[in-house]
């Protein structure tokens, strides 16, 4: 019963947070780009996302006649549910956690692979050329970057000696893993950008060339689901960055939950700032960068970590 309440609370707060994030990002982008951003709905425009949600819900729920209907409807649901399920294993505080699985990290990776399907399925089911190209790009990008993402956190797992996310946070009592696992943290963050397909890795969408990529044919709340999924994904990836490399809920004076969200928001801001700054690399450049730079770097990181642990034992770091 207790868990059920927790789940409901978690769902509610996650939806609110990602809706607010959309507004925060748009306001920040506006600020950085010498314009206002949405500032009309509610105080400072804070209700903009609510207005957008109402608009999307009120729109005709239209499926293009040429689309593969069941898959077309399924695809946006996949991404949202996969991301939301991942939050089940995220330890917000030592006690605030829905399911404290001992394979927590693996569970997250499994689900994030699943969410890659939504892009492929959406691209395929839309039966449109732009969507197809977007879907193909998305699948190639996400499958490659998942490899480095997995490898980049293996160093953390070695240091913590566990896949359980709570153990990983507790292992950072003295030193956050972003110091010994500097390279791992860097690669993880890049892979996280690619996983959430945010600029500069928004190649599956690439509005300049592919109109809107895999979700070109989507409208109404089905499009809203993709949108929501993207922002939930940002929250998830930022939370993971905090848990794996920035000591999770740990910090002096303030309560653990506050620390957790404070750190997470910092990471989210970096996501936004990068979006405002960088251009988009070409698809092949991105994949080449992944396999020729990130893969060797993460393997090397893994090797060096393993050697140090083997020679000095766990306490060395």
């Amino acid at each position: 019963m207790n868990e059920l309440v927790l789940i409901v609370l978690l769902l509610g707060s996650l939806f609110t947070i990602s809706a607010l994030l959309i507004w925060v990002e748009r306001r920040l982008l506006g600020h950085w780009q010498e314009r206002y951003g949405p500032n009309r709905v509610g105080p400072g425009g804070i209700l903009q996302s609510a207005a957008d949600a109402i608009k999307l819900l009120a729109k005709e729920d239209w499926t293009p006649p040429f689309a593969d209907k069941p898959v077309f409807v399924l695809a946006p649901a996949v991404v949202v549910s996969a991301v939301l399920l991942s939050f089940a294993v995220v330890p917000f505080t030592p006690s605030l956690i829905v399911a404290d699985l001992n394979i927590g990290l693996l569970f997250v990776f499994a689900l994030s692979s699943l969410s890659a399907y939504s892009i492929v399925l959406a691209g395929w089911a839309s039966n449109s050329k732009y969507a197809l190209i977007g879907g193909l790009r998305g699948s190639a990008q996400m499958f490659s970057y998942e490899v480095f993402m997995g490898l980049s956190v293996m160093g953390v797992v070695m240091l913590a000696g566990s896949f359980r996310l709570r153990d990983i946070v507790e292992a950072q009592q003295d030193l956050w893993f972003c110091i010994p696992q500097m390279i791992g943290a860097g690669i993880f963050f890049i892979a996280a950008l690619a996983e959430t397909h945010r600029l500069p890795f928004d190649i599956p969408e690439a509005e300049a060339e592919l109109v809107a990529g895999y979700h070109t044919e989507y409208s109404g709340m089905k499009f809203g689901m993709f949108f929501l999924g993207e922002y939930l994904g940002i929250v998830l990836m930022s939370s993971l960055t905090v848990i794996l490399f920035l000591g999770g809920w740990q910090g002096p004076w303030l309560p653990p939950l506050v620390w957790f969200w404070l750190k997470t928001f910092m990471v989210i801001m970096v996501f936004f700032l990068i979006r405002a700054t960088l251009p988009r690399p070409r698809f092949d450049q991105l994949i080449t960068f992944g396999w020729t730079v990130l893969l060797p770097a993460s393997l090397l990181n893994l090797l060096v970590t393993a050697i140090i642990i083997l020679t000095n034992g766990h306490d060395a770091l």
């Binding site: 982008l29 950085w32 780009q33 010498e34 314009r35 050329k129 732009y130 190209i133 600029l199 500069p200 928004d202 690439a206 509005e207 300049a208 060339e209 109109v211 979006r275 405002a276 700054t277 960088l278 251009p279 988009r280 690399p281 070409r282 698809f283 092949d284 450049q285």
Partner: protein
């Protein structure tokens, strides 16, 4: 004077007197008239065999001569095809005319000599119904496939009210849509090759990356571009046809909207041509004001290009910074002209008003404001490693290819060839200004960007000189044919009143003749070829725009690149669809 040109002797010697008859025109451009049989060898000789060859097919058009009253005595042909060539070595144009009879509208295609002739010949077929033998696919270019008649013929109506009201029935709509469907076979393209099935991706006419209503059908193998078929004409507004029914004066605002980012820059070549025909000398102050505004518009146009180019390669923010800067340019332009993008402010013989009080302050403020911003953009955009990876080595072409395709402006200078009509054929007093012509070496997307950014700095230099050395004096020529007529000379007696009334209601009658004037516009060389019949309106207005040949070249430089590169190429070419379609 033009009879002594050595090239004319050479042509007469080689092709016989009849094949190269010299014709008098009001501009300095040597004009010869040849016949159908000689046109192909003659043009080939001019491009390939003569010393200091005419490398570029600068423009190609036709004239419907049937209603023209002021022609040389012996001319009786109904149509004339006009080829304008340009030699960089000689810094000289050459106009070759071919008279055609209306029952025999057929010419040999010169696409084997200049690839750029392809679209020009299609346009002439579309507009005049002149056929070209040996053209790979002679079909309509600007008008819809279902259009009946050839619009630039004199018997084609110029106003909608002269035609039956237009109605689109449901079945006609279906027919129109079917006509727009792309069929690869029609263009000699294969659907499969070596077990690769090509995808034909329809980019546009409404697409985020094409900067306007341009349709590109891209043949893709995976994401690699095999070929592209551009489909233009969606922005066609019959600007040339409208020229034939507007008075000399009332046509000025139409020119603003040809390259809609160039504003008064478009008015300049038109007015230079009109003033040449009328024999008007523009006073020094008006010339400098014109130069200053034209350079402000060059900066405004380049800023739009800069921001959208960055956006085409996925950079979100720069476009906002650059549009903010452009707003400051418009602030100055608004203070001076009252308008923003399309002020319509130059007049025959000068400009509409003198500069307002305090203009120096506005301009000086902007001159101090922009340079540090440009330096910042260098770091933000051009210096960005991802940006460089996206644009370096992409969409390359050589100087030779650029000349073959009729490329002018920054696109030509990016190949390392320093050519700027402001320097080589100064107009409107550009010879008095001290500025450099920036060039680059590789001719790729990045270099085209580099050249434009540097051009903005040079434009600032020119504006600064305008500011510091603005001459005193009148802003309009003291001439009977200027518009609007001088108010001080009217209302004295009935004669001056009638003069004034006619000059306002009809506008001036510009003396008969032919003139072409060209300027270094924002995108490249923009030229107006005007034919006057001595009437209050032009007999023929031909607008040679830079975007037209530039966009025609895109398929040839995109082949083998990836789909994402196409957007970088389109961004770097910097075209305006209204400038392509007119």
């Amino acid at each position: 004077m033009m009879h002594d040109l050595p090239i004319l002797d050479e042509l007469r010697l080689r092709f016989g007197k009849d094949s190269a008859q010299i014709e008098e025109t009001r501009d300095d451009i040597p004009t010869i008239s040849t016949n159908k049989a000689s046109v192909l060898p003659l043009l080939r000789f001019l491009k390939e065999d003569t010393d200091q060859p005419y490398r570029m097919l600068f423009d190609m058009t036709a004239i419907d001569e049937r209603n023209r009253t002021t022609r040389p005595m012996d001319a009786s042909n109904e149509f004339t095809a006009v080829y304008t060539l340009f030699s960089f070595d000689r810094n000289q144009d050459l106009r070759v005319k071919v008279p055609l009879a209306s029952d025999d509208l057929l010419l040999p295609s010169i696409t084997s000599i200049w690839p750029s002739a392809n679209w020009y010949e299609r346009e002439i077929w579309d507009m005049f119904g002149i056929r070209f033998n040996g053209h790979p696919y002679l079909r309509r270019l600007l008008m819809p496939k279902s259009w009946e008649g050839h619009p630039l013929r004199k018997d084609h109506p110029a106003r909608a009210t002269e035609m039956t009201p237009y109605e689109l029935e449901e079945e006609d709509e279906q027919t129109e849509q079917d006509l727009l469907k792309f069929s690869p076979e029609e263009w000699g393209m294969q659907r499969t090759h070596d077990q690769v099935e090509y995808m034909f991706l329809n980019l546009g006419p409404a697409h985020t990356g094409t900067h306007g209503i341009l349709r590109l059908v891209v043949q893709l193998a995976g994401e690699q571009i095999v070929d592209i078929v551009p489909d233009i004409g969606f922005h066609h507004r019959a600007a040339e046809k409208m020229g034939e029914r507007q008075t000399w004066h009332t046509y000025i605002p139409y020119t603003d909207r040809i390259d809609y980012l160039g504003g008064v820059m478009n008015e300049l070549p038109y007015l230079l041509a009109v003033e040449r025909l009328a024999g008007i000398r523009v006073p020094a102050r008006a010339q400098v004001i014109r130069v200053m505004l034209a350079e402000l518009f060059r900066i405004a146009s380049h800023l739009v290009w800069y921001g959208t180019f960055a956006q085409d390669v996925g950079q979100l923010s720069p476009v906002f910074y650059m549009f903010t800067d452009r707003e400051r340019v418009f602030h100055i332009i608004e203070a001076i002209t009252g308008g923003r993008m399309h002020p319509g402010w130059f007049r025959i013989g000068g400009v509409a008003h003198d500069l307002p009080q305090g203009w120096e302050h506005l301009v000086r403020e902007f001159l101090e404001y922009l340079p540090p911003r440009l330096n910042e953009y260098d770091d933000l955009v051009l210096g960005n490693r991802i940006f460089q990876a996206r644009t370096k080595g992409v969409g390359r072409y050589t100087t030779q290819e650029a000349m073959d395709w009729g490329v002018t402006g920054p696109g030509l200078r990016a190949t390392g060839f320093s050519w700027d009509f402001r320097k080589t054929q100064p107009y409107s007093g550009y010879e008095q200004f001290d500025f450099e012509v920036p060039t680059a070496t590789n001719g790729d997307c990045y270099d085209r960007g580099l050249v434009r950014v540097e051009e903005m700095r040079q434009s600032l230099r020119i504006i600064e000189q305008c500011l510091n050395q603005m001459p005193e004096g009148p802003t309009k020529a003291d001439h009977a044919l200027t518009t609007p007529p001088d108010k001080a000379r009217t209302l004295h007696d009935i004669e001056t009143l009638i003069q004034h009334f006619l000059a306002v209601s009809w506008g001036p009658r510009i003396p008969a003749g032919e003139v072409m004037a060209k300027v270094e516009a924002t995108k490249g060389c923009n030229a107006y070829y005007l034919i006057s019949d001595g009437a209050p309106w032009p007999y023929r207005v031909r607008i040679r725009t830079p975007s037209f040949p530039h966009i025609q070249m895109v398929p040839s430089i995109s082949k083998g690149h990836l789909l994402s590169d196409l957007l970088a190429i389109l961004g770097s070419v910097d075209f305006v669809l209204a400038d392509v379609d007119r």
